[in-house]
């Protein structure tokens, strides 16, 4: 599905920031701080440590932030902002689907950031441009329970998909996920931290193949892997005027 596109706005702004430009907020998170000197709205970055983060997650985050110092890795901020033009473009692109009603859309929240702090998806992402790799440090909160005491597989699938999407957009640009194939190896205890490592494997025409694995913090346990998901790039495949509108809108 297109859920991978959800990560796109954040990622694009993150990459823009990584390339020297100012990160552009992608969604209105409600409370936002204002810098009155410039009247520029500063949106909250949800991928920074908060009180719900465990010691493991903080330690890993600090390790990766240290790796960012020499420029080999980039921290991808996760801020939000609703851009009406982008919403319109998605509606325009999917001409055959009935769009959501405006009053329902006003209540919408991005799935992976829809819980209160610490209850759901707590994560931070880092990107290595040379190695075409994206790493997601993920702590699944108590509201993501599947079997008693363990993370729901759907929650893990959500984070795998998000990480693969960020990896693809970082390396290749616009895309649409066509397939997601996950092997589940070992259950993840609730509230524990895992490392989701994804990488670009190959590009065949308009298809991009990315893969990932999910490991425990000590790397001893392989919880899951996702092999050969096929991600179809929208650009330059079937480029039309509508695609150009979409592309322009997403890169705003």
């Amino acid at each position: 599905m297109l859920r991978s596109c959800a990560a796109r706005p954040r990622t694009l702004s993150a990459l823009r920031a990584a390339r020297g430009g100012a990160p552009r907020p992608a969604r209105d998170p409600g409370p936002a701080r204002r810098s009155f000197s410039t009247e520029k709205v500063i949106h909250k970055d949800h991928s920074l440590p908060n009180p719900s983060w465990s010691k493991d997650l903080r330690l890993l985050f600090d390790q990766f932030m240290k790796k960012c110092e020499d420029g080999s890795w980039k921290h991808l901020p996760s801020s939000e902002c609703k851009v009406p033009q982008r919403i319109h473009s998605f509606k325009t692109y999917f001409l055959d689907s009935k769009p959501v009603k405006e009053d329902q859309l006003s209540q919408a929240r991005p799935f992976t950031r829809s819980y209160e702090v610490g209850q759901g998806f707590e994560y931070a992402m880092f990107y290595n441009e040379d190695e075409k790799r994206t790493v997601c440090l993920f702590q699944g909160g108590p509201y993501l329970e599947g079997p008693p005491g363990f993370l729901h597989g759907g929650a893990l699938a959500t984070m795998i998909d998000t990480t693969l999407g960020v990896c693809t957009i970082s390396c290749m640009g616009l895309f649409m996920t066509a397939n997601l194939n996950i092997n589940f190896k070992s259950p993840i205890p609730l509230c524990s931290v895992v490392v989701i490592s994804s990488q670009l494997d190959k590009v065949e025409g308009r298809k991009v193949f990315v893969s990932c694995n999910v490991r425990s913090v000590d790397e001893k346990t392989l919880h899951s892997d996702a092999t050969d998901p096929v991600l179809v790039i929208l650009y330059p495949y079937r480029m039309t005027f509508l695609h150009l509108i979409l592309l322009f809108s997403l890169q705003r």
Copy 2:
């Protein structure tokens, strides 16, 4: 992953009900009605219509409830209750995984029922024993947004997985998901209703193959399909004393 097991307690109680026994609540949902005459706690069934349900979802629900009248289909209730013995059994079964801390476990909520009414996963399931089929009527709320105005693919993967899990447990009993392979065809507008139809395809030794498709209410749009997910049955595979404890606990 084992997320499919999460649906197990509810399904088992539902099947028990379908076979003539009283459905057994599976998780404490907080507010529960009490019948003072018998002192029996009546847990809320989350799979019944509520004010957030759209006209489409209510209509479909009524259609399937009508199909239940001749006994060909069964409505699978979705009630909750935390059974300490079951939690302990899961911990015991996964000896190599670090269990979640008790204080964190007390805050745990099942992922697909962790949102307030109407915000997240609204769904009802029906089972046809003769055809080995399970149908899930699903309305994704505004907190499950992926691309602007559309459902997050991870949310759809969660519901696909849950439906396949219920289908497997209904037909075969205890299991653990080994693989989930989803093809995404068309995005689902937020707050719209889709029908997830799953069926048992074949059984090869300890492997069960189930598949499903996700269609719009008018059946004109194929949103997604999941082909050949391999589900490994715990019973009778590698049956040990620990498995027997687990089995006993789940069927309480």
